[in-house]
Symmetry: C2
Subunit: 337 residues, 2 copies
DNA sequence: CTGTTAGCGCCTTCAC
DNA sequence: GTGAAGGCGCTAACAG
């Protein structure tokens, strides 16, 4: 089945290719009604659809952007993607999503593939380990926006959570509930800014409030070892409260709780950064610090589109979003002591 | 910043464009080591990357497929997408995902846009309302695979759940647990095969087992009205057990349960088609009939890739997947009466 | 072994 | 108002 091309339409309508092209691109300022109608009819009759690949080659723009996420398993990631897609959809851009799986090599491969595919811009949750690549994009003025993380010293716009504020909200709430011995659980992945920011904010707060805790209270392990580590911690120390660093960590904690048949918040108060779909449904309902994922995704999409359209310059701006504290009852009842 | 093109490499390496092309495409059967090395060096030095758009135009293949899902909010959908992406990834294909949101017009627009973009094939969760479009694709031998639904009379391969078996598993389990008055809740969306299959299977089973229920026990409403409808039903009838037709429906039921502070399975036994992430975590753990989403997505991806490569013909085959029954305790304890 | 040539389907001056 | 011509970057015969 041969595809019908612009030439076919032209022949059928008895005009030249270029006239059809004009018509397609609505440049019929000076086109006679007659030819316009003839072309329209021919297009309908032949069921003609322009080949976007050919157009892209000529125009050097594909109306497609790429999104490279670090880990698609986080609910946060999914929500950001959805918001980006909605934003781009509204501007008639397509989105290709790739999951780098926290692996710098994968990230590199995807960045290259997407650029080879001539995407007009990139939204990346950067691993941070491909600095030269990032630099090269900056150097070539390729539109790019970072999400969730930023890379020091690179003039690339980032959309991020105020991570230290998130941790402050968490710790201060727990303190208000009367908890002193607070443990922080995170999943260790190389060097990742949000985790690092959260951990250091936690350390700072612990010092500041003179919490009676030690380094054992900060657990940073592979996901599949977290349940064991938590168990060890609980054996060694009296823990009042546990902060799950993100939703995947929370799952591990909940699994542990279920398997040991613990009662929350009696066994320990629980609070997570990242809200989950069943936060209100769980028994007890889960207190959480939520990231405004949709807003962040929307912002990232808008920023990228603006850059693509040349409306804004590349710059080292960081758009910080405030977390939202959601008190439910897993973090303890009443006002504490 | 001008992009470096094949021509630049050719000039730099003192060969012709075509030689470079040969090199790029690893057709150096008869290429001298010398030129090979020269080209390689030039490519590195100039940091050359082939423009895939140009290649696509020439080769009439983009190594990209489109996926149009009916509703991205279902966990099932997400899992299928992920499996498709993994499968395609392994074959060096890219995936563009679009969410038709159960709206035939959106579906139509996406199908057209993706085809205009020259995707090599399409995986669609069809709304069923764009028959002419589907037919036209069949007619043009455009590679396509349906997921979750099939359209009668069209020679298009489908990957589906054995919906009636799912319902049988559900009902028979509940009967075994001693429940007789079983209600089925689903969210009404136009004509959709799986829902319809599930409903008629339910009706058949009700008849077959002489269940003491009437048409009120089948509730098919918009999601946001389900809680009210369930409430009405519970006022009017003595319900032993509730089957949630999918995960979104389950959410409504759980919200209802939470807001009314009901005890499951005492208030009624609960079972859903589609397992959820917190199925084991919920109290009580949720009995479910799970769809093998990953396997189905993988199969769909494989089928589409095979069609694209011309390895298999288009045909009206339906790949049926068996649901997996997961007994937990929301459906009642013990063996019943 | 390598270069020449001719497009892929579309867009865009620039004549007529 | 419309058409002719050239070219986007790459591939694929076919010469040489």
């Amino acid at each position: 089945m041969k595809k019908t091309t612009m030439m076919d339409v032209a022949t059928h309508a008895n005009v030249s290719k270029s006239t059809v092209s004009q018509y397609i691109n609505k440049r019929y300022d000076f086109m006679s009604e007659a030819t316009k109608n003839r072309i329209k009819a021919s297009i309908q009759e032949l069921n003609y659809r322009p080949n976007i690949v050919a157009r892209s080659l000529k125009q050097k723009t594909t109306y497609t952007i790429g999104v490279i996420v670090s880990n698609i398993l986080h609910a946060f990631t999914t929500q950001v993607i959805r918001a980006i897609e909605d934003t781009c959809q509204a501007a008639d851009f397509h989105v290709i999503v790739c999951n780098a799986d926290d692996q710098p090599e994968k990230e590199k491969r995807y960045i290259q593939m997407l650029r080879d595919k001539q995407v007009d811009g990139l939204i990346v949750f950067p691993t941070g380990e491909n600095r030269e690549l990032y630099e090269e994009m900056v150097h070539n003025q390729f539109p790019i926006v970072f999400v969730d993380r930023k890379i020091e010293g690179l003039p690339i716009t980032s959309v991020m959570l105020e991570n230290s504020m998130a941790m402050e909200m968490a710790v201060e709430h727990l303190l208000k509930k009367g908890h002193k011995k607070i443990a922080l659980l995170t999943n260790a992945i190389k060097f990742v800014l949000p985790r690092q920011e959260r951990v250091s904010a936690f350390e700072k707060l612990a010092k500041q409030h003179l919490l009676p805790i030690n380094e054992r209270y900060i657990v940073s392990k592979e996901l599949n070892q977290l349940q064991n580590s938590l168990h060890e911690l609980l054996q060694l120390e009296e823990v009042d409260a546990v902060i799950a660093g993100n939703d995947l960590v929370l799952f591990e904690v909940l699994n542990y709780i279920t398997s040991r048949q613990l009662q929350i918040p009696d066994a320990f108060a629980l609070l997570s950064i990242d809200d989950v779909s069943f936060g209100t449904l769980y028994n007890p309902p889960l207190t959480a610090v939520r990231q405004p994922a949709s807003e962040m995704g929307k912002k990232a999409g808008e920023l990228l589109l603006a850059k693509i359209k040349g409306e804004i310059e590349e710059e080292q701006t960081t758009y910080l979003f405030e977390p939202i504290f959601i008190e439910r009852s897993s973090s303890g009842r009443g006002e504490g002591i």
